[in-house]
């Protein structure tokens, strides 16, 4: 049975804006993105919203629903009470372009700063071989749909704009972890880069990125903390350093 839904939708641009009250019908089984489309079709023809697949796989419809970073296409209306007003705003960690659409180009700039995999020079096309156990570990990170909800909720940049220069964010820590765990990757300074160029040390592992990930990637436990431990191997472990000198094994503290 259809219900009447009370919404507050943020409308505006980078100079001004406000929450606007809307009342709209909702049918059973609908998600918040359906409701936004209905509002767009019936009441706010110029409401800006970014969306694409409506299946939780493209990562386009990221926004904040009742203050929580979510995919609008994966958020059931039935999760909210009959009398509850649903507040919908754009992502609050990024500059707004219009209404619910934000400028997430920060993330693409950070992505370009991370060197891609560097395969052995003598490896010819078609010759790369990896065992299943080695693939599985980083496979989890490949599930990322780049919705940037983790970036949005990370307080390092959400609450401190000035940190955007020196902090890549959880999405890119899983990228770095994936490459650093790659058995064939020849680039050996990823740990150092993670710490010194991408701000891994700024993360205080409060796990909000893991909490909001719609793909349920265990970002903190499986990527950030392992990378922090790898950084300790190379930078903060005097015994490994001593061992590398005595045994002449630079691989113990490889950067």
């Amino acid at each position: 049975m259809a219900r009447t839904l009370k919404l507050r939708i943020w409308r505006g641009d980078d100079t001004n804006g406000a929450l606007q009250d809307v009342t709209v019908d909702a049918n059973p089984g609908e998600v918040v993105l359906d409701i936004i489309h209905r509002v767009q079709a019936t009441q706010m023809g110029d409401l800006a919203v970014r969306w694409n697949c409506k299946a939780g796989k493209c990562g386009s419809c990221s926004m904040e629903i009742n203050g929580r970073p979510r995919l609008a296409c994966m958020t059931q209306v039935s999760a909210y009470g009959e009398d509850e007003t649903i507040t919908i705003t754009p992502l609050r960690a990024f500059p707004v372009i219009k209404d619910l659409v934000t400028d997430v180009s920060f993330n693409y700039k950070k992505a370009m700063e991370i060197p891609s995999v560097e395969m052995p020079a003598d490896l010819k096309p078609g010759e790369a071989r990896m065992q299943q156990v080695d693939v599985e570990r980083s496979q989890e990170f490949r599930k990322c749909i780049e919705c940037f909800l983790c970036q949005d909720t990370c307080h390092v940049i959400r609450d401190h704009e000035e940190n955007k220069k020196s902090f890549a964010g959880p999405r890119f820590f899983i990228r770095i972890a994936e490459l650093d765990m790659h058995p064939l990757d020849m680039l050996r300074n990823r740990k150092k880069q993670a710490q010194e160029e991408h701000g891994l040390g700024m993360c205080n592992i409060t796990k909000c990125c893991t909490e909001v990930c719609p793909e349920h990637i265990r970002i903190t436990d499986n990527a950030i903390i392992p990378m922090k431990e790898r950084v300790v191997d190379t930078k903060y472990d005097p015994i490994r350093w001593l061992g590398s000198k005595i045994l002449k094994r630079e691989d113990l503290i490889q950067n």
């Binding site: 505006g12 990024f94 409060t206 903390i225 930078k235």
Partner: protein, 267 residues
């Protein structure tokens, strides 16, 4: 100049958070429990009494390494002399508590817990923190969080010693073997919880195999990593269970030592 969610260019929204759930409840409970434990542990560490009664010893005082330790309580001998400060005897607990304290302080789970509940950095996800600047764990003192592995190694030594304490509790009050009391079970449970907490640690996971690039070349370490990874999934739970375990174990030993209750023997 406005920063954070109020920065130039971001959506102009006056509220620090628009969350409507009780996001403050979890940090509040965490604060309450951890703060209570800190108060209790501090009081007990300075009390310097009622920590040993044959065959039970409190985990707060084990190993008891000072010459001021109660007779029969020193498993490893008296390494430290009796020290008096302002007329008070320096408690034996203060020689050793830095290790379990350091292990928990630098623990990846507890860091989340106290950064959120004590330092509000952030208090909850998508709730703006009150601090104007943030440098994370990049400089002193928080860069010392990188010493976690050393406290982990020390913690393993403590686990062995507390396990020995539990084994020694299979004696009666006259040191005759082959007996078991409620205190034996309490010490056994405490040691077990601490082992689970240590073995589920992220540093343990890294040490046994996490640092490898090629699991396929190290099948034994991969197997160990797989087991620790499963435990690691419950690290938060083990952290709380073991903390409460230590707390209750100390209370039990103290109650027996003050003769408020008797240590009931099964056989």
């Amino acid at each position: 100049m406005a920063t954070g969610v109020f920065s130039e260019g971001r959506a102009k929204i006056a509220e620090r958070t628009l969350r409507t759930d009780r996001w403050w409840l979890q940090p509040l409970i965490t604060f309450g429990v951890l703060f209570s434990f800190i108060i209790y542990a501090t009081w007990r560490a300075f009390e310097n009494n009622y920590y040993f009664i044959e065959p039970l010893i409190s985990p707060f005082y084990s190993p008891c390494l000072s010459q001021s330790c109660a007779p029969g309580s020193s498993l490893l001998g008296h390494l430290f002399p009796i020290i008096h400060i302002w007329g008070m005897t320096f408690s034996p607990a203060l020689f050793i508590l830095i290790f379990p304290l350091g292990f928990r302080m630098t623990c990846y789970y507890y860091r989340k817990a106290y950064y959120r509940s004590f330092w509000m950095s952030p208090p909850a996800c998508a709730v703006a923190e009150p601090h104007s600047k943030y440098t994370g764990e990049t400089r002193a003192p928080l860069i010392l969080q990188n010493a976690h592995r050393w406290f982990f190694y020390a913690g393993l030594v403590f686990n062995v010693l507390l396990t020995i304490d539990a084994v020694l509790a299979f004696r009666d009050k006259h040191n005759n073997w082959g007996h078991m009391s409620v205190g034996t079970l309490v010490l056994l449970a405490n040691a077990t919880f601490l082992w689970f907490y240590s073995l589920s640690c992220h540093t343990c996971r890294h040490t046994v195999g996490g640092r490898l690039r090629n699991f396929s070349k190290h099948p034994m370490r991969y197997k160990a990593w797989t087991v620790v990874s499963k435990l690691n999934h419950y690290h938060q739970q083990f952290a709380w269970i073991s903390l409460v375990g230590v707390w209750l174990t100390d209370i039990y030993v103290r109650e027996v030592a003050t003769h408020a209750i008797s240590n009931w023997y099964f056989f």
